[in-house]
Amino acid sequence: MTAERPPILDVRDLRVHFPVREGFLGRPNGWVKAVDGISFAIRRGETLGLVGESGCGKTTAGRAILRLIKPTGGTVTFDGADLAALGRGKLRETRRKMQIVFQDPYGSLNPRMRVRDIVEEGLIVHRLGAAAVRRATVLEALASVGLAATALDRYPHEFSGGQRQRIAIARALALSPTFLVCDEPVSALDVSIQAQILNLLTEMREKHGLTYLFIAHDLAVVEHVSDRVAVMYLGRIVEEAPAGELYRRPLHPYTRALLSTVPAIGGPPRERNHLSGEAGSPLDPPSGCRFHPRCPIVRDICRTVEPRELNLDGHRVSCHAVEEESAR
């Protein structure tokens, strides 16, 4: 546990900008900077939680890492290979090892395919074994997510949200990947089912030694699952730290505000850290520190100069106030 594990995923300065075009021959007259320079590394066996509110770019980041969306800049290195440099064939091979579970259990399964075909497709495409072997793998995958063999010949619409999510997980795990991006996998599920699926995900992680990038907006869920947590705001990572540390000692004012909105069940009510206004738009992010219009401790420098990233003993944060504080 203490040995230095090489990062299985290394993201450097990832950018995803969507052009805003107008007119027939559309020259872009603006860019939606959904992801605007994020960097992190995940070591093998680790789970990094990526947390933020809607519009912060976390879902886009997850898909860009898997190259489901083409990044506009930056590098993504998986298992030592730069994904951008891989040819189509090599990229497809690499896809075996990095899979994804989506948020919407109703949209992530092809409604015209049977469960058997859904889970088997990856095996067919990557030519992993003859029909009999594939069938065995499919049965095993379904069993490991808690679905009986009777599910094989049914269609997705015959299942509940939680069960569909299990099918989606089975589909991802059938390929025996090493890295899994979980894009809000429980947000659309009922509370009691959430717990079941979260337990399933942690169980799979232990069993197969998986590495997770866990994207969510629910802080409590993220903390439960992750080793380290990164907080995103308007396309940038504003803070990153080991899970327990982030929640005990949040440094960035946005993180503090987010934490204060998590209602406490029983016990004393949490102190409310009010954020005024609304999140800015990634089309036209504020100058300087992107958070400055809503920051309770904003100073002059925040409006003009972007804060640089500090690394305080494994706890990364980008904030002028923190910088000043730590300089003392």
Partner: protein, 331 residues
């Protein structure tokens, strides 16, 4: 016992080709002036149907088959439609989950609030407009005079929900029904909206019926809580009491399965096994028994009734004895 709104034995059934769906099957509760009751449950438990039934907004093939809805001396379940229309929007208002879908995209925000006012009050257009702008200011829309003339698509989700609240408050209702008002919103916006509702309640003394699946939210937003499962209320008490002494195994399971910030990182969350039953085919006896870790033989046969187990704390479970939950008794 003079509650502002009292629902007694409400039964709303849906008559579909595949059978009868007993969405709300004998629901009773009461809300007092200035208090917030949270109706909590997962999808399919009937909470939204209950809320819609109060204002008789349930569409066929569903209809109210039994029960009374007592409000201001009348039974809303049986008064003629014309009379009910005077109640809707005026005395009892409702806001919904998806603000973007609840507002008409081809009318300005001010236009829709004004409509809400003029349906129930005889005021001039100018007076209505000025009241609309006041309302928008009250709910925290910046630059209200200008933004009033904009269309819904120019507002964000949080802003739209505020507009909905403004519309709901236009006629100073006695009761506000909020059906999952913050589910579609972000954490920080959620907090803002809930605080706004609390403020408004303190100002006007209106009662709020809050429908939600988010137990954690209830902790900070409500005074009383009623937990629903499979069309019935299974537990009801004040919020603090419920969190400190959950009696029903379902409540127990729900509370346990929510990840808590700062809780010790155990590997597994104590999850409730199984899934919510098909509303067309409820299990016999106690509807929760197939999933209950504490079930006994009689749970499959007898249906539990709501009884007061602790002061001001009713629960519908056969195994609650002496105010102690069967979950605790098991250890």
């Amino acid at each position: 016992m003079n509650a502002l709104l009292e629902v007694r034995g409400l039964k709303t059934y849906f008559f579909a080709e595949s059978g009868v769906v007993k969405a709300a099957d004998g629901v009773s509760f009461a809300i007092d002036r200035g208090r917030t009751l949270a109706l909590v449950g997962e999808s399919g438990c009937g909470k939204s149907v209950t809320a819609l039934s109060i204002l008789r907004l349930v569409e066929p093939p569903g209809r109210i088959v039994a029960g009374e809805i007592l409000f201001e001396g009348r039974d809303l379940a049986s008064i003629p439609e014309k009379e009910l229309r005077c109640v809707r929007g005026d005395r009892i208002a409702m806001i919904f989950q998806e603000p973007m879908a609840s507002l008409n995209p081809v009318y300005t925000v001010e236009g829709q609030i004004v409509e809400a006012i003029r349906v129930h009050r005889r005021v001039s257009r100018r007076a209505a407009r000025s009241r609309a702008i006041d309302l928008l200011k009250r709910v925290g829309i910046p630059a209200a005079e200008n933004r009033a003339d904009e269309y819904p698509h120019r507002f964000s989700g949080g802003m739209l929900q505020r507009v909905m609240i403004a519309m709901a408050l236009a006629c100073e209702p006695a009761v506000l029904i909020a059906d999952e008002p913050t589910t579609a919103l972000d954490g920080t916006t959620q907090a803002q909206i809930l605080d706004l509702l609390k403020e408004l309640q303190e100002e006007s003394g209106m009662a709020i019926l809050l429908i939600t699946h988010n137990l954690a939210l209830v902790a900070e937003a409500a005074h009383e809580i009623a937990v629903m499962y499979a069309g019935k209320i299974v537990e009801r008490s004040s919020v603090r009491e419920l969190f400190e002494h959950p009696l029903h195994p379902y409540t127990h399971g729900l509370l346990g399965s929510i990840p808590r910030l700062g809780a010790p990182k155990g590997r597994t969350l104590p999850a409730i096994t199984g899934t919510v039953p098909d509303p067309a085919r409820y299990p016999a006896g106690c509807r929760f028994h197939p999933r209950c870790p504490a079930k006994e033989a009689r749970c499959a046969v007898d249906e539990p009734l709501l009884e007061e187990a602790r002061p001001d704390h009713t629960v519908g479970c056969l195994l609650v004895e002496g105010g102690v939950s069967p979950m605790e008794a098991r250890g």
